[in-house]
Symmetry: C2
Subunit: 616 residues, 2 copies
């Protein structure tokens, strides 16, 4: 399209944004209007996308990081013929795919946005996958607001993209000067963004975002820039085109006061249909299947002492040999998480994300959107850094594996800052998540393989220290299952642990067995979903359940077990929780477990008290 | 000290770092050795600190963001006479204040470090407090590693400090080239850091971090630089001074292979005692008490419709008038969280942090370390962005208030990205936290006041939409309490809600009352600590408890209530949970509540089923 046609298209996008928000009675039309020229040019002259085949591997990716500009995105879909007028008008109504902020309920949306500062980090993951793993070239466009440039996650992404020379990535910053509350920090100072981005190795183009020739040229410049990502820094005006709202404060996130006159001022409704360029290869060229061969997992002998983090790394390396879709990311601690085993064998599919956990998770989200199966690892404690990205990944219906090492006080001397003690609570509350916490090497290996086939957010919690192998290499560990490691008809109480505490529970049970007291022991390796049947049987058989976890008392194994006995299911007579209640310090792993009251001796002492004084 | 003396002191710090890690059998001596020259010069020639009076308001602040260099920090304390040799040797042992990473168990440590990239954001809060609120000048020094410059939170802080012209802030970057796993992204390229920092408005000094004259001059330059924060970017060598480890990979976080010969190579033990300069004012000039007058909270009439976020903002403004120590921070959404009411009345104590939630929480942590009482607010959903900072704040023994608005599906059309549905789970699992969720305006106001006096991390969850006032303005709401809003001798079931769901529970109970079924209703405004007594009475009286929460099923009110019935306390006959189990979309608040099954009609229908089919 020439610039007159593009201008007409942009006005159509504005009109449609205004009318759809007006109809919904909510939404962000002014934030849409500022970026309309930018997106008109992109859609008509630069984007390659087959809306009939959103899975086409050659499709460019467009991430609306400023997800609140959804009226603009949906107006683009309308102009491209991807949706019709009838569906368009369902915006923000019950059951509509056109939500307030975009989600992958729409097939052309790869990831949900709406938590600002996430689009670029995810786009970096997409561009990385395209440039390092892809066989079909595509470009990645991210539309960002100016306010969200304050998010540190954006600078993690800028650093990563510059360092990796991601020239397929174009960031479009809609510098409309106004955030939600009022003026942004840098207001109209385009060069404030420009000099920062250039310092990080980016190519920048600073333009008037309402000068259509400049906009069109900027996209061409981005496409012809090699070895550097490009940022198009576009000065715009919020509410552009309607005098009553243009560049005015206090109008964020509100329909226009008079939509009818605004539409008239914008030149009225139009019905321009854009024929979006398709990728060069035919749609039939969907992603070619990646290598799938038998996975030869490492096998460990019962009684061996192996850290589950080691078992994770070695299983991952084996999985990588058998599954070509596996990619691995790490936050500069692969020597600790042991993802280094994968990195050494499959360097082409290993991504070093340095100490930037938000970028770590976002890159994984971007890669899974393109069909890869990511395993991203760091210390369990530091995954809290990416909580908002994990939350949004669930809304993105993302399928990925997150692995947190160094769980609990059992790490010892390094102290509480390095101890994952909130991770189970965080991951259990993520929508549709799976939460796994193995206690030995064979179990870990089996779960690493099983995770590959699951959907949603899968979390694996691993241990720093060595634990004895208690299962044979052919044992099966279904998701949602558990293992009963000690059992008799005379069990008077059931101990429930996972990870480190399984071994402490076993030792406690053996001590009590020597004293003539039978104790059942359950290994609750699948914390979510949880094995309701086994726990209910244990409650019926023994009356008393004691959970033991290397985690804070809230949100972890104690809560997972208690949840089994809700919703009308009869409760056990007694439910007792042992967990890390006090703030730990620095000490040996054994001392830490004892101080927290979750070592074998403390458990045994607790059971004796319970059996003698409480239950009798 | 002259440069020969400083060099001797630096060697002493190295020797002491080596020997204390050797004795402990763990720790990070090589990361300490690289920064020894920098810290020797700072301690002897630049820092003003009265180690006998850590509460002295004129003390400079020193934050070891690279907390793993704790051997160096403790060696500095030893040199300054703050600790003795006997205590020094307790490093990393059970019960010692000298933990693997520094915590405020030591009176000279303001905040815990060990999760990288947090020291500078906290230091920004300290410098902001000093420059905008303080009457006693002090400088803030942050020692950072080079690896942690990859964390986005560092760039949030750099942006904030540059924008606010924090010339009392000095960042010392120990560019020792090696991270944990291997080389950093920029290795020895000091200017890679320098040009980035300068683009953000910082003054930079690039030096050889082992050239003592250059180091000493750099600190002088920082002190004499006005209107800009200064970064001393120091090229160093990890393990400096011992050939076996200097600048070598694979030696992170390990004692030296041969400590004895290393100490000899470093010139042996020394016993230099540094007389650290004290602040100019006498120690008696401790912080002057801030204004404390009666707080005239807003009062609401029963039946009024008021959003609890509005009540929060107005109560905060009133609290600000009566309490001079209150400071308020917001993440560029003060018009939504309603902290704008405070901002308008007390602009001198309001801090706009823009959309940078990590910096938001970190600034609050820094300010509370200096005696202020922060209230920091953003959407509940976006507080997940700062989870790792909240976790570390608990380890820092920080006292601060965090306020999350827009809780739950009740926000309506904006959709799941904006809905706080994991926040209760996150905050309940924080060590020593208090979690509050009021349902009306008078309750909110009372809790905002009560929070001021608490210690630890306090979380208040507020609502976007209006709810009816159900309590009078003189009602009292103790922390750890609850309110029984419907009660009779014939109650057959107890409904437990908080926030939005209190009102849905009340309507459901009234519907069932019309049908002749008595239902108890408990307002569980204090989610943690929870009112065990009232819940136990309800269980005894009615046998069946039903929790209703606008939150995911895990980690929130259902789990909080279940926890009451553990540890040997008898369980209720039935415990039923209603929560947001499915992924919400965009719809009206009423439709969202209904879709989640937590509106009055769904609750009533559930109760009928329960009473007729299950309990009989």
């Amino acid at each position: 399209m020439n610039s007159e046609e593009l201008t007409e298209l942009a006005q159509q996008l504005r009109v449609d944004s205004v009318r759809v928000a007006d109809r919904a009675g909510s939404g962000h039309p002014t934030s849409s209007m500022s970026a309309a020229d930018l997106m008109a040019a992109l859609l008509a002259n630069h984007l390659h996308y087959d809306y009939d085949h959103p899975g086409h591997p050659g499709n460019d990716r467009l991430v609306f990081s400023k997800g609140h500009a959804s009226p603009l995105l949906y107006s683009m879909y309308l102009a491209a013929g991807a949706i019709d007028e009838e569906e368009f008008l369902t915006y923000r109504t019950l059951g509509s795919r056109l939500e307030g902020h975009p989600t992958p309920e729409l097939p052309w949306v790869d990831v949900a946005t709406g938590s600002l500062g996430q689009g670029l980090p995810v786009g970096v993951g997409m561009a990385l996958a395209g440039q390092r793993l892809g066989r079909t070239p595509y470009r990645v466009y991210v539309l960002s607001g100016d306010s969200e440039m304050a998010e540190g996650s954006v600078w993690e992404a800028i650093e990563h993209a510059g360092d990796q020379h991601l020239d397929s990535l174009t960031l479009v910053i809609d510098v409309n000067r106004l955030g939600q509350r009022g003026p942004t920090r840098h207001q109209r100072d385009l060069d404030a963004y420009g000099r920062r981005l250039r310092a990080f190795g980016w190519h920048t183009v600073e333009i008037d975002g309402h000068d259509m020739d400049a906009v069109d040229a900027a996209f061409n410049e981005a496409r012809s820039t090699l070895r550097k990502p490009t940022a198009i820094i576009a000065g715009t005006r919020k509410g552009r085109g309607v005098a009553a709202v243009e560049d005015r404060e206090g109008l964020h996130g509100k329909p226009l006061p008079d939509a009818e006159s605004a539409i008239a001022e914008l030149g009225g409704r139009r019905s321009i249909r854009v024929s979006v360029a398709k990728p060069q290869e035919p749609a039939a060229a969907t992603r070619s299947p990646r290598r799938t061969t038998a996975v030869d997992l490492p096998r460990y002998e019962i009684g061996d002492e192996v850290a589950t983090r080691d078992a994770y790394g070695k299983a991952l390396a084996a999985l990588g040999a058998g599954r070509g879709d596996v990619v691995v990311l790490d936050g500069e601690v692969s020597d600790s998480t042991r993802s280094e085993f994968f990195a050494k064998e499959h360097p082409d599919r290993f991504f070093e994300c340095y100490i930037a956990e938000q970028q770590l998770v976002a890159a994984a989200v971007g890669m899974q959107a393109l069909g890869h199966v990511p395993y991203a690892s760091t210390f369990a404690a530091f995954l809290t850094r990416a909580h908002d990205f994990i939350r949004m990944a669930a809304i993105s219906r993302a399928s990925l594996n997150l692995v947190g090492s160094h769980a609990g006080v059992a790490i010892g001397q390094d102290g509480p800052s390095q101890m994952g003690l909130e991770d189970l609570a965080m991951f259990r509350a993520v929508h549709g998540s799976t939460v796994l916490h193995p206690c030995d090497a064979n179990q870990t290996a089996a779960l690493v393989l099983a995770m590959h086939e699951l959907s949603g957010i899968r979390y694996l919690r691993t241990l720093r220290g060595k634990t004895p192998v208690v299962y044979g290499p052919d044992e099966r560990f279904p998701i949602g299952g558990s293992k009963v490691l000690r059992r008799s008809d005379k069990d008077r109480v059931t101990l429930i642990g996972a990870g480190t505490t399984v071994h402490e529970c076993l030792r406690a049970a053996d001590t009590l067995a020597d004293e003539g007291v039978a104790v059942r022991v359950v290994d609750l390796y699948s914390v979510k979903p949880v094995d309701e049947r086994t726990l209910q049987s244990a409650a019926e058989d023994t009356g008393c359940l004691v959970t033991v976890e290397d985690h804070h008392p809230q949100g972890g194994i104690g809560d997972a077990v208690a949840e089994v006995f809700s919703d009308g299911r009869p409760a056990p007579q007694r439910l007792v929780r042992l967990a890390v209640g006090d703030m730990p310090g620095s000490a040996t792993p054994e001392e830490e477990l004892r101080a927290a009251g979750i070592d074998a001796d403390s458990i045994a002492a607790g059971l004796r008290l319970l059996l003698e004084k409480v239950i009798r």
